[in-house]
Amino acid sequence: MTIKEVEHQIIEEFALFTDWMDKYEYLIELGKSVPIISESAKLDSNLIKGCQSRVWLDAEFKDGRIFFKADSDAVITKGIISLLIRLLSGRTAQEILDANLDFIKEIGLQENLSPTRANGLLSMIKQIKIYAMAFSATKK
């Protein structure tokens, strides 16, 4: 599936929720079920520090694709991260660079990404793109 297709799938999943509580309960569930990044990868160099919560992001380049692992100390943040990982991990650098991640707005989570919330999510997306840029440069 392309990134766009997975985005569409996520939007459809969230369309089932009529109540904000159901939506957040789903995110909490996702947040709890994400494989936790190993303590050894929770390095300061992988830490994206926000005022609100911490996010760790680890990237690995394998067979022309980039694989991400991430974690956060806040479970809702982690739930949103898991959606991003589902979407972007295992993609090529170019696919990642081209993704505009419309689904975040579509499922009503854009307020989680405003820079003022400073919760590390926006920085995480930037960091994912930077990794993609770096790996695509190495490839060339």
Partner: protein
């Protein structure tokens, strides 16, 4: 005569505020009716605004004065002879008189308008680093300070070669007064501490610190950002040399604040910024400065903000202090009882001298998640490091959740807060 403030200038019916003096429980509900922002829904729920430690909502008298001034009474102060300038000057200088009376300064020249508490502290820190501080000198702050009472002093240290000393907190978030004598010696050239902590809500023993510092001729600056809202401040009685506070936390507008300073000190220290209005005479060889307070008010000041701060002072003066204090105590008791009853909660700042401000963590639930869920229930809270990383480090946490109450908050809101909190904790469990 010119400087006398005339309410009729601003077409607003301030007489209604008199209604606030009602000696019963409904007076809090009555106070609420003056704050349009409180009457709204957030995410489809009735707003419960408990982030007053960050900023308060504004009463209608403040809002309307800002509107009246922007819509008509607008002319730059001090400089022109035209009617609008005379009116705004009267409002601006009238507000200075109101603030002088409010904090009981000994003269109006001791009240300097700034952009807020941060600007006030930076002003003093800059001037001290320029005029007084030298290598070998030190500055004493406490371990419970807001970043705005830490960073300006670190910058002053960088400029002057002085060092920063910190009076530590105990496990309850109170100052380690037993260490004060050791930290206060003749190398200390200024003590700068908070009246009330913005995280711990503890009312600090500033009187004792001022007394001890003064016995060594050390001046004291009090960060009154929270103190001005929750206590009756009398700067002459306190004896502090500087008292800094913001307008926006005390029902006034943003972008305006005050630095109270003892006149003889204000005369001595250098201005922070140069520009118009702060000078006596300018020529290319040498410029002489105007006396305080104008020496510290370079450029066009926020005269609308200052005038509206005057309206906020009027508003506070009309509040039935006794009733408000009963309400605050009731809320504090209720909150402490309920928060302590939830096993997973750790509360920071345990002192009998506490304002209704509660910072805590919940085992197994991140403050950001809780704040996000409770926002969806209409409850506005603060989560994060609350502009005080050193306090987070002291209590070995990354962040906290804070509920802070103001004069218009009701016990019913406290009850709804507890209910929402329990619901959010359950969702995250």
């Amino acid at each position: 005569m010119f400087l006398r403030y005339n309410w009729q200038l601003c077409f607003v019916n301030f007489g209604v505020i008199k209604l606030l003096k009602m000696k019963n429980r409904s007076s809090i509900l009555n106070i609420r009716s003056f704050f349009p922002a409180l009457d709204q829904t957030i995410n489809g729920k009735k707003l419960i605004y408990l982030d007053n430690g960050a900023t308060s909502q504004k009463p209608i008298s403040v809002i309307e004065l800002v509107n009246e001034m922007n819509s008509g009474i607008n002319g730059n102060i001090h400089r022109a002879v035209h009617e609008l300038s005379a009116k705004t000057t009267a409002l601006y200088e009238g507000a200075r008189d109101k603030v002088m009376n409010f904090v009981n300064a000994s003269c109006r020249e001791e009240i300097i308008f700034t952009g807020g508490t941060t600007a006030s502290i930076n002003l003093v820190a800059f001037s001290f680093s320029r005029d007084i501080l030298k290598p070998g000198h030190s500055i004493l702050i406490s371990g419970g300070e807001h970043h705005s009472n830490i960073v300006p002093w670190q910058m002053a240290c960088e400029r002057s070669g002085a060092t920063l000393r910190v009076l530590p907190l105990d496990d309850n978030g109170c100052w380690r007064m037993d260490l004060l004598d050791k930290l206060l010696d003749s190398s200390v050239k200024i003590v700068s501490v908070a009246h009330i902590s913005n995280i711990l809500g503890v009312i600090n023993p500033i009187e004792e610190v001022i007394k001890k510092a003064h016995s060594l001729n050390i001046p004291v600056l009090i960060d009154g950002a929270q103190g001005i809202v929750h206590s009756k401040v009398d700067v002459q009685k306190l004896g502090c040399d500087f008292y800094a506070f913001s307008g926006h936390k005390m029902y006034g507008p943003t972008g305006i604040g005050v630095l109270y300073g003892k006149y003889n000190l204000l005369e001595k220290i250098s201005p922070f910024m140069g520009g118009g209005d702060m000078i006596e005479s300018v020529n290319f060889a040498k410029t002489t400065y105007a006396p305080p307070p104008l020496k510290f008010e370079a450029g066009t000041p926020n005269f609308i903000g200052a005038a509206a701060l005057g309206a906020a002072v009027d508003f506070i003066s009309e509040i039935d202090v006794e009733q408000a204090s009963i309400n605050e105590k009731e809320i504090t008791q209720y909150m402490l009882k309920e928060l302590k009853a939830i096993e997973s909660i750790t509360l920071y700042g345990n002192s009998p001298n506490k304002i209704p401000l509660f910072s805590f963590t919940v085992k197994g639930a991140h403050p950001t998640d809780l704040a996000l869920l409770m926002d969806n229930m209409g409850v506005a809270l603060r989560s994060g490091q609350m502009c005080s990383e050193p306090v987070m480090d002291r209590f070995c946490v990354e962040s906290m959740l804070r509920a802070s109450f103001a004069v218009y908050n009701t016990i019913e809101e406290a009850q709804q807060f507890i209910e929402s909190l329990k619901k959010a904790i359950k969702m995250l469990a």
